[in-house]
Amino acid sequence: MTSPLEQKKIRITGPSVVTANRTWDGIVIYRTARQGWSAELSDAAIVRTSDEARALLTESVADDVGAIGAYIAPVEVKDSGAIKPGNLREHIRLQGVTIDLPVPA
């Protein structure tokens, strides 16, 4: 997966969210429509245009204390309304590593 760290221009082609890591402990979080953060992808604000994405990212980056490394990530919105990660990288960030950990959680 191309690293979003190389994300230069904001141009989305489908539903997207803003994701980051929580500053104090580093866990994966998603920007919500209420200008907060949640560890649940289902709480994430969905954007569908590049302008919306830019605005959500700008607002997210402004919260420098709460979150680190915010970027736009693609998602799939199922007919049921469920939100799924749009690529393997985001799937791994949400679900965890694809291997058994040496020490089970």
Binding site: S3, L5, W24, D25, V28, L88, R89, P102, V103
Partner: protein, 551 residues
Amino acid sequence: MYAYDELDRTIINERVTEFRDQVKRRLSGELTEDEFKMLRLQNGVYLQLHAYMFRVAIPYGTLSTKQLRALAHVARRYDRGYGHFTTRQNIQFNWIKLAELPDALADLAEVGIHAMQTSGNNTRNVTSDQWAGVAPGEVEDPRIWSELLRQYTTLHPEFSFLPRKFKFAITASDHDRAAIKVHDIGLRLYKNAEGETGFEVLVGGGLGRTPFIGKTIKPFVHGHDLLSYVEAILRVYNQYGRRDNIYKARIKILVHELGIDKFAQEVEEEWLQMRDSALAIDDAVIEDIRSRFSYPTYEKLPHMPDELKKAAHDPHFEAWRKNSVFPHKVPGYAIVTLSLKPVGGPPGDATADQMDAIADLAEKYSFGEIRVGHEQNLALPHVARRDLPVLWKALDKIGVATPNVNLVSDIIACPGLDYCSLANARSIPIAQELTRRFANHETANMIGRLHVNISGCINACGHHHVGHIGILGVEKNGEEFYQITIGGRADEKAEVGTLIGPAVPYGEVADVVEDIVEAYLALRERPDELFIDAVKRLGVEPFRERVYATR
């Protein structure tokens, strides 16, 4: 073991206090992430996919039992119960909380461990041969010089903001176990024709996006000139190294663009101005460092004790002994490699329980010393051969006696897309599948020495360029694909591998490796012609044909 003095302890403790304050200010919002990022990187703290990653330095790969237990404690108390040993003899923890990092660092500082300069554009952990000080035929213990460089480069103000990161590796043996030719500066300690000990200095080696094998810039530098010569190299790099393009900022690019002769001339001019400065090393300084390394008081022991003769009847023990036990400079002793490559396991990972158990065994059987190798295995450097049978049983019990050292399943792999924010593709599951495919020890032994190295992106933390078989994860239209190279090697005959053809999808990588191995077995001239030698003789074409004939 090297004993830190009061100055070292003060530096480490002050650094913890400083970083504790920086973290506090970051969490309060007094420092922005932009301001904090460089500070955390200089303390080994990265942001990865799931959490912060904390990289701890293990200078020249030497650990005491106290230090290994402290690493186990950090894994257990602040992380998820395990750590990952890296290709630069460091250890990484994958799930650390920023708020708890100062406490983790303070706990490590109590045993003389830190994370300084394990990241950032500075001089990184100085690495060396994991058999340093015990390898037969070694000129002298290269860790003495590694330690000199560690002291010199730690917090060096002029070299804390280089164009890019900078890595040293040192060996003092004919066979290079430290991969010095793929480091920014590689140092080979040897005796010249006049019987004087000094260094061949190599410069501009490195992997990543643009791999280069290091070039000899000076065939012989006396020990007392080492710091001034290294400083001259760093000054030329600091002045001319590119800061406008991160992909062209490493010294290897500068050496390549200037040419080694021009670069050497620049260094020589710089060096002549400072050769006789305060950087000229007094013998007393070296002797002081040497005196702070303690060596075991070895007993006079037989090479073939009764315990070993008796155990030789056990084929499992013999398989392990032949694979993982290596000659020691002192008769009656051996170097034992502990494989962190169990079948189906993530390469280089060790649990806190394993670390504690290894520390116990090192205390009992290895004079309290443990080594970390760049191949992501551990070693016990001073084991009496009479203790090998009982040690083997204990190592086997904790899962670090897989007899696959230097064989096809002894895979170097980076964390890949399972952990790393830079990765394009996964590395660990590929390694795990390969260890399952080649789990049969007799088959692996019949194949012989074969290094498979896997990186999840072009940054090459898994050293794929110098794997006998190298596997590089790339992305194609959102899918994981893997480029395969063969013929790379990281030893004294270091070479960058050659791409054999188009990238293959995730699900086919293990099949491709099997095809390559089968081609080798069919093509080798004799059973002891190693894979790497067969590739050298035959070129990549026969392997390419075999892999792509049906794809």
